[in-house]
Assembly symmetry: C2
Homo-oligomer: 222 residues x 2
């Protein structure tokens, strides 16, 4: 391989590896807030802020290296699609960090209140969201369009589960006005978990775009 090609490949590998480190941090942030909520552990919930800061640093660095790579290496075809996708996935991962912070706030609120809500449904939602995030990052590495498709399909399940939590909490608030605050916390946590799934879906769509050149968003098969 010529030196210039090797440099191109090295830089591209570095960008991919940076994105995956960022992805690992997002997985860690999600695991931290979910465990913190289930174990009612305030200290753990506080721990997410340091992880989110790391995610934010990754975002800035990744944008910089992608811009430099585009300027200096002028990639085309699959490599160009890959870098464009990484720029978009970068935004998704950063927002997933924000959502983990939101979950931390609601969870801290929740565990400091009285109330006897079961966290079982939230726990199932969290497990589904975690699997989607993991699969989305895995299929980015393997370029496995089948796993990416699975992520897209799982998103419907997550939406339904969110709606279920939402309906249950509205019913509970109507029945007993003293549970409004903890019920609202669970509604907000469910919404944030659902949004984590939306971002995992965006990543999976980007993976399909890189692998196939097909833009499958909005039912487009162009």
């Amino acid at each position: 391989m010529a030196a210039v090609e090797r440099q191109f490949q090295n830089q591209l590998d570095e960008i991919k590896s940076l994105l995956l480190s960022m992805g690992n941090s997002v997985e860690k942030a999600l695991e931290t807030v979910v465990t913190g909520l289930i174990q009612r552990d305030l200290e753990k919930l506080e721990g997410v802020f340091a992880i989110e800061e790391r995610i934010n640093h990754y975002q800035v660095e990744l944008d910089q290296v992608c811009t430099e790579f585009l300027a200096k290496q002028g990639p085309v075809a699959t490599d160009l699609r890959l870098v464009i996708s990484i720029i978009k996935i970068n935004s998704d991962l950063e927002r997933m960090g924000d959502q983990c912070v939101n979950i931390s706030h609601s969870a801290k609120d929740f565990i400091q209140q009285k109330g006897s809500f079961s966290l079982q449904d939230i726990q199932v939602m969290a497990a589904v969201a975690q699997k989607m995030v993991k699969d989305a990052l895995d299929c980015f590495v393997t370029r496995n369009a089948e796993v990416a498709q699975k992520v897209l399909m799982t998103d419907d399940e997550l939406d339904q589960r969110k709606q279920q939590v939402f309906n249950q909490m509205v019913a509970a608030m109507k029945k007993d006005s003293t549970v409004v605050e903890p019920a609202m916390d669970l509604i907000l946590i469910a919404r944030n978990l659902e949004r984590m799934g939306d971002h995992a879906t965006n990543i999976a769509e980007d993976v399909i775009f890189v692998s196939t050149g097909k833009d499958i968003r909005h039912g487009k098969y162009s």
Copy 2:
């Protein structure tokens, strides 16, 4: 100007103009759902779906032309930063379309229920969000970093107003369990308006990045 430079400039102008058409559609979508809610007009609220579809088409087209432009023209420096920013702003605008659809759903729910909630605070929030979206798009055109800074500052105001609506609605639900559903609708509408402001903020940050080369996200002045 040489023919090749003219072609470069023409294509870049076309991309910018496409982004602005998309931005106009987002402004139209927001105006439609806000008016539909205030005037309790179901038909108007339905009208947002066609606008959102247009926004989704713009998103796919814009990604295509940006990818082609990067591949064929290999822009550098400010032009490269501009195209990268447009790719990101494209995602923000598409999500703003989604949020208008969410607002439409909650608003339809709200106006079909009994209840006597004043919409005054939501109306103020909507006006603030509309101004932020308008200013964000305007400063993209004029590259006016001062207007962009104003958008960033207004975002705090919008967050505070959302928190105010949230607190009022929680208090109302605790006092009277028959208002849980309309109160939840207003909470969701307030959250979606706040998220519109977040996306306008992202756009303003991108404008500052294009104009100055400075990444001001997360307090970074690198």
